[in-house]
């Protein structure tokens, strides 16, 4: 089985601060981490490899620093890693990102492609399904359990609002995973050694045959017009007194808001 896991390096949100004057994110000094759900995607890839045999390739599109995320993935047990990096990719939205990832995936060749459900910086959850459409292959979102996998089909559970669906697909297929699927393993000592030595392949736009009309700002249909900080809550009330008084005060407030 040829398995590709797409991972994104994101700023650790716990560390993100907002510049109060400009309303923009202060990214300096914020550590880059593997998008949390992508750790579950890597774990899923390693699990499938253990079941069916094959190779796990992790890919990431991003600036040169994203190499460290790829090394972390190798430490977990991925076999190889490709960094897709080029100034021309700067400013890509989900459409242009999915296009670039699909071109790289075509070049590598894959039976299964695994993404996280969403990245914590943009929260869009769009890159996975868009990449599948560019590849002309089916996708399954929100995978929470792999029920069965053999060389011809995969059967999984997809989490929905009020339950789950059991879905079967032939290969190639792309799926996006949620946290419930598994518990990502920690890097082993052997993995860490491998990560140090690993040669990360680096591909630019030309290497993956990406047309310049489809990447970066030029290839992105959407633009960020502006960013601003949401209004902070100024309405906080602490309810004081004995538990009875606190509850009474809360009931009063809720009544006032016509919530009861």
């Amino acid at each position: 089985m040829r398995i590709i896991v797409c991972i994104k390096q994101v700023p650790d949100t716990a560390e993100v601060r907002i510049n109060p004057e400009t309303g923009t994110l202060i990214r300096e000094g914020v550590p880059g981490i593997i998008n949390p759900l992508d750790l579950h995607a890597i774990e899923a890839g390693l699990y499938i490899k253990e079941k069916t045999g094959g190779k796990v390739t992790v890919i990431s599109m991003g600036p040169p620093q994203a190499e460290s995320a790829l090394r972390d993935a190798i430490a977990m047990g991925a076999d190889e890693a490709v960094l897709i990096s080029d100034k021309a990719f700067a400013g890509s939205d989900t459409w242009a990102t999915a296009y670039a990832l699909s071109m790289a995936i075509k070049k590598i060749g894959a039976d299964i492609i695994i993404c996280g459900k969403q990245a914590i910086d943009g929260d869009t959850a769009q890159v996975g399904p868009e990449t599948a459409e560019f590849l002309n292959i089916p996708h399954i979102s929100y995978v929470r359990k792999i029920e069965h996998i053999d060389k011809d089909t995969i059967r999984v559970q997809r989490l929905m609002d009020e339950g789950y669906d059991v879905i079967e697909s032939p290969f190639p297929v792309l799926f996006t995973v949620i946290k419930e699927l598994n518990e990502p393993r920690l890097p082993s000592l052997k993995g860490k050694m491998a990560a140090k030595k690993a040669v990360i392949q680096k591909w630019n736009a030309a290497d993956i045959g990406a047309s310049e009309d489809n990447i970066g700002i030029k290839g992105s249909p959407t633009r960020v017009k502006n960013v601003f900080t949401p209004q902070a809550r100024t309405d906080r009330k602490m309810l004081e007194g004995t538990p009875e008084q606190q509850v009474e005060a809360l009931i009063q407030e809720l009544r006032g808001l016509k919530c009861l």
Binding site: D123, F134, K237, L239
Partner: protein, 397 residues
């Protein structure tokens, strides 16, 4: 203008056949052949690895993507088990406002469900319904859903297309946007028309609500967005409203993925967090899985849903589907009651845009109080039973 195949270059790889939303390409004698169903969407041109498909123009050159050709506001009326979801009525509400601002029509796409449900959409504000009546849409499956929608959009060219940011919308709408080569903005909480340019201003939280961003899609149409449920007001219901229902045929909707089974899972109470008006959430402060009995009792009393922090899920006290936060669900109810939850950023990003937040915590310094509208410093095992008792009195139960 027509689409042609250069037979010398075509190697019969079938990529174009797989990509064609209209099933207008067949393999004849090992070569691609374009039949009369072709709508000249040009999708195949970009997917052909050999560059064997081209556009033949006779006489005047027509530009493919002219934004002014695109007219009307469309919404996707999601249905589950044949019943239109609440979010569709909310989309008709915001859709009506946008359509009025642009002086244009409001249409809804309904896949599956009955004629009656289509009529209801008109009463909620739609001028036109594109209704595709077929049992294949009863269960949600990405491929048939996206194929039919791609066809409809390419044929009728709406300028704005909105869908709910539900598990269904967020799964298949990206495929549609990718194929049509247009922008898609996820999980919008506010939509407006820019008076100067006529563009749709799509406002959404990013970084878990720490910042808001206004996104535009200036050169491509339709401008597509998924809209967070429960944020927009439903349209005005008028039982005398008249509109048009257009029955759309659907043949040739193949799918590679198969939905084998649909399982409803309920843990005794309403869990659809993203549709709930009220959410009562419990965290590690409950100290014990039994604490969720109290949480559930309060939730049921208020007609709300049960949420939780990750710590409570990790302890195994409650299933993952209840988890709110960065790696769980993002919710925006009218009232969010956090009990025994400290308010770690990863939790806050999933709930801080709720209208009213009530926090109950022993520790006066817990960060949850920073986002609370009402804070109660106290033991939840004292507060909750009292609160439940009071509300019962209030409701006369």
């Amino acid at each position: 203008m027509s689409v042609k195949v250069n037979i010398e270059k075509c190697n019969g790889c079938e990529e174009c056949i797989k990509s064609c939303p209209f099933d207008a390409i067949e393999l004849k004698e090992g070569k691609a052949f374009i039949n009369e169903y072709c709508q000249m969407c040009m999708t195949c041109l970009s997917v052909c690895p050999e560059g064997a498909i081209y556009e033949e123009t006779e006489g005047k050159q027509t530009k493919n993507q002219q934004t002014s050709e695109y007219k009307g506001v469309w919404i996707f009326a999601e249905q589950r088990d044949g019943k239109v979801a609440q979010v569709a009525y909310e989309l008709l509400g915001i859709g009506r406002t946008l359509a009025n601002d642009l002086n244009t029509e409001l249409s809804a796409v309904l896949l599956g469900a009955s004629e009656n449900e289509a009529q209801e959409l008109i009463k909620w504000g739609a001028d036109k319904i594109y209704h595709v009546k077929s049992d294949i849409f009863n269960t949600f499956n990405d491929e048939p859903y996206s194929k039919i929608l791609i066809r409809l959009i390419l044929m009728h060219k709406p300028e704005i297309f909105l869908s709910g940011a539900t598990p269904i919308g967020r799964s298949f709408i990206p495929r549609v946007a990718a194929r049509i080569k247009t922008g898609l903005t996820a999980d919008c909480t506010s939509l407006k028309i820019d008076k100067e340019t006529g563009n749709l201003l799509q406002i959404r939280p990013a970084f878990g609500g720490n910042i808001m961003a206004t996104i535009i899609c200036p050169d491509k149409r339709p401008q597509m967005a998924t809209v967070r449920p429960r944020v927009m007001k439903p349209g005005n219901y008028d039982s005398n409203r008249k509109g048009e229902i257009i029955n759309v045929p659907c043949d040739n909707l193949s799918s590679r993925t198969k939905v084998i089974e649909t399982v409803k899972e309920s843990s005794g109470c309403f869990v659809n967090l993203q549709e709930a008006d009220i959410i009562v959430s419990g965290g590690r402060g409950l100290g014990d899985p039994k604490g969720f009995k109290l949480i559930q009792e309060l939730a049921e009393l208020l007609g709300g849903a049960v949420g939780s922090s990750r710590a409570a899920v990790d302890e195994g006290w409650i299933p993952y589907r209840h988890q709110v936060g960065q790696t769980g669900k993002t919710v925006c109810p009218k009232i969010y009651i956090a009990c025994g939850i400290s308010g770690a950023v990863q939790h806050l990003v999933g709930m801080q845009s709720s209208d009213i937040i009530i926090a109950i915590n022993k520790n006066p310094d817990a960060p949850i109080f920073n986002v609370a509208s009402y804070g109660i410093v106290g033991d939840l095992y004292e507060i909750l039973p009292l609160l439940i008792k009071k509300i019962k009195e209030e409701k006369g139960i």
